[in-house]
């Protein structure tokens, strides 16, 4: 990716960048995009029980170093923290050549990009990989029987193959069940717009999104560390050591 990003970065006569090679946004929830760097580097950020994190593992620090270097050393990405919300617009304005974003943006890009574009899986360093994303339907144990049944009915309604296919086509999100991809309209859509299935095909390499006890707090510990490294306030190793210490402190109670 770095090699392409270097080729795609355009500078004007006085050396100012007019188009960045690549953009990985880092505002709000950088941990999620970071998993797109750590997973291909062959490392996971937490254990399955969600009471232990591995933010200071060398492979994690390496991944962060790579991210920081894109902006600071190789100068193919805007340095500092990059806003998530304006990233698609940056792409439409041709200010960035490659962007990392949610597949839920795909239909938006399809409608608003006034040029040819492509979609590809995240680059593989040691292996392919990405975090999962999206949300869930919950049915509460304490709800009344009637409410539970109604909730099940609603969840079923929302995930019917035809509806899931339509939802996927209208947003870009991955249609949630395999048979949605077998519907006539989805088949026709993918035939006409083949990149629509890239995110689905990447799922086989995906790992779980960062999720622990006290999730918001642990996530913030990581986010703060990532932003500190990206803005240059801390070195990647130092930032990840601090994030790990904070996460370990928060998770201490869940280790018993």
């Amino acid at each position: 990716m770095l090699e392409y990003a270097q080729k795609l970065t355009v500078r004007d006569a006085s050396g100012n960048v007019t188009r960045w090679g690549v953009q990985i946004p880092s505002s709000g929830f950088p941990y999620w995009l970071f998993q797109g760097l750590t997973t291909p580097n062959g490392v996971e950020l937490m254990n399955a029980a969600g009471n232990e994190t591995y933010f200071d593992k060398p492979a994690v620090v390496d991944a962060l170093q790579y991210w920081v270097d894109l902006g600071r050393k190789h100068k193919v990405m805007s340095p500092g923290v990059i806003e998530w919300g304006t990233t698609p617009k940056d792409f439409f304005e041709k200010k960035i050549a490659m962007m990392w974003t949610t597949t839920g943006n795909l239909t938006n890009v399809k409608k608003n990009a006034k040029f040819d574009f492509g979609v590809t899986m995240l680059p593989a360093s040691k292996r392919r990989g990405s975090p999962t994303g999206g949300g869930n339907f919950y049915i509460f144990k304490k709800a009344t029987k009637a409410e539970q049944e109604a909730a099940v009915r609603f969840a079923k309604f929302m995930t019917e193959p035809e509806r899931a296919a339509q939802w996927g086509m209208d947003t870009g999100y991955v249609a949630v069940r395999p048979d949605a991809w077998e519907t006539a309209k989805m088949k026709a859509y993918v035939k006409d717009f083949p990149v629509a299935s890239v995110a689905r095909d990447q799922l086989q390499y995906s790992v779980a999104e960062l999720s622990t006890h006290e999730n918001q707090r642990v996530t913030k510990a990581l986010n703060d560390g990532l932003q500190a490294a990206l803005t240059g306030a801390k070195s990647p190793a130092e930032a990840m050591k601090d994030s790990q210490a904070e996460a370990a402190r928060i998770l201490r109670a869940y280790k018993r």
């Binding site: 100012n16 960048v17 007019t18 880092s26 505002s27 709000g28 805007s78 340095p79 500092g80 923290v81 990059i82 806003e83 919300g85 304006t86 617009k89 940056d90 304005e93 200010k95 006290e214 918001q216 707090r217 913030k220 986010n223 703060d224 932003q227 500190a228 990206l230 803005t231 306030a233």
Partner: protein, 292 residues
């Protein structure tokens, strides 16, 4: 004697509705917050145990809290004087007889009526590197491109500008109303006596505006601690807590982390700051204010 008693009862009955509302929505929550701040957050439906001052010990060790507090100090020091000063200048300007002043008034007041969330989304694009409005100016003048909201040293100043822009128009309205209540005869008398305009402004107008200034100042202080909508939209407290304000931190602790016990303790700090500011303003400044 009996008449006096009846009068007293009538008086109490008359203030009862207001007093009841005040107690229910102001005094009760304050007392409840104080009590909550001594308890741990309830987990899995079990009420939290009494932990004494533990939440306050956590606070002292909480780096993000100190960072947010200092950010808020700078934020207040930056936004309050500038928005009030700007409001006064704008009010003096649109109070003068000139063509198109209605349009100018509308333009100055527009930021106030827009919802902060919408405003923040607009400003987000103003600050966007490379093609944002601000960058169009700076790169046009030959400066290198800068990631305004993504750099720790400039992010806080950027959100302060949004707050000033939003508040100044609102405060202008109060100044405008106050300016129009100053009798024109004063200006005429000053002109007859040959007082220069600057002297008239300094010795007549500004003292007469003092009650308004006090009112606006109280509002500005409250706003600088109360309004964090734009933080949520523009930076979510980032990069690395550079724009985290006290109320935003309380919001995160309370409603992202659901650590309500600690959030209660943090809320008390905010409450103490605002109470101190209010007392300071009303007790000390009030003496310097000249009421007609």
């Amino acid at each position: 004697m009996r008449l006096g008693a009846i009068n007293a009862v009538t008086g109490w009955l008359l203030v009862l509705p207001a007093a009841a509302l005040l107690a229910l929505f102001t005094h009760f929550p304050v007392v409840a917050t104080i009590i909550d701040s001594f308890y741990a957050t309830s987990r899995a439906g079990k009420p939290g145990p009494f932990v004494g001052l533990e939440n306050y010990h956590v606070m002292v060790a909480d780096e993000v809290f100190w960072k947010s507090l200092w950010n808020n100090v700078w934020y207040s020091l930056g936004t309050i004087p500038l928005s009030i000063g700007l409001a006064l200048v704008m009010a003096l300007w649109v109070n003068s007889a000139m063509r198109g002043r209605t349009w100018l008034r509308v333009a100055f007041f527009t930021p106030t009526i827009l919802p902060m969330i919408a405003v923040a989304n607009i400003w987000l694009f103003f600050y966007t590197p490379q093609y944002g409005l601000l960058e169009k100016f700076t790169t046009g003048l030959g400066f290198a491109t800068h990631n305004w909201l993504g750099t720790e040293s400039t992010a806080l100043a950027c959100v302060m500008v949004v707050a000033i822009w939003k508040d100044a128009g609102f405060f202008m309205i109060f100044y405008l109303a106050a300016l129009q209540s100053i009798p024109p005869s004063l200006a005429e008398a000053a002109a007859l006596e040959g007082a220069p305009r600057s002297y008239y402004l300094r010795r007549i107008v500004l003292p007469l505006l003092m009650p308004t200034t006090l009112f606006v100042l109280v509002n500005a202080v409250i706003n600088s601690f109360r309004l964090v909508d734009h933080i949520v939209v523009m930076t979510r407290g980032g990069p690395n807590n550079a724009t985290s304000l006290l109320l935003f931190h309380i919001y995160q602790v309370g409603f992202s982390f659901w650590d309500t016990g600690y959030a209660a303790a943090l809320t008390l700090v905010l409450l103490a700051i605002l109470a101190a500011a209010a007392i300071g303003q009303f007790v000390f400044l009030d003496k310097k204010v000249h009421y007609q």
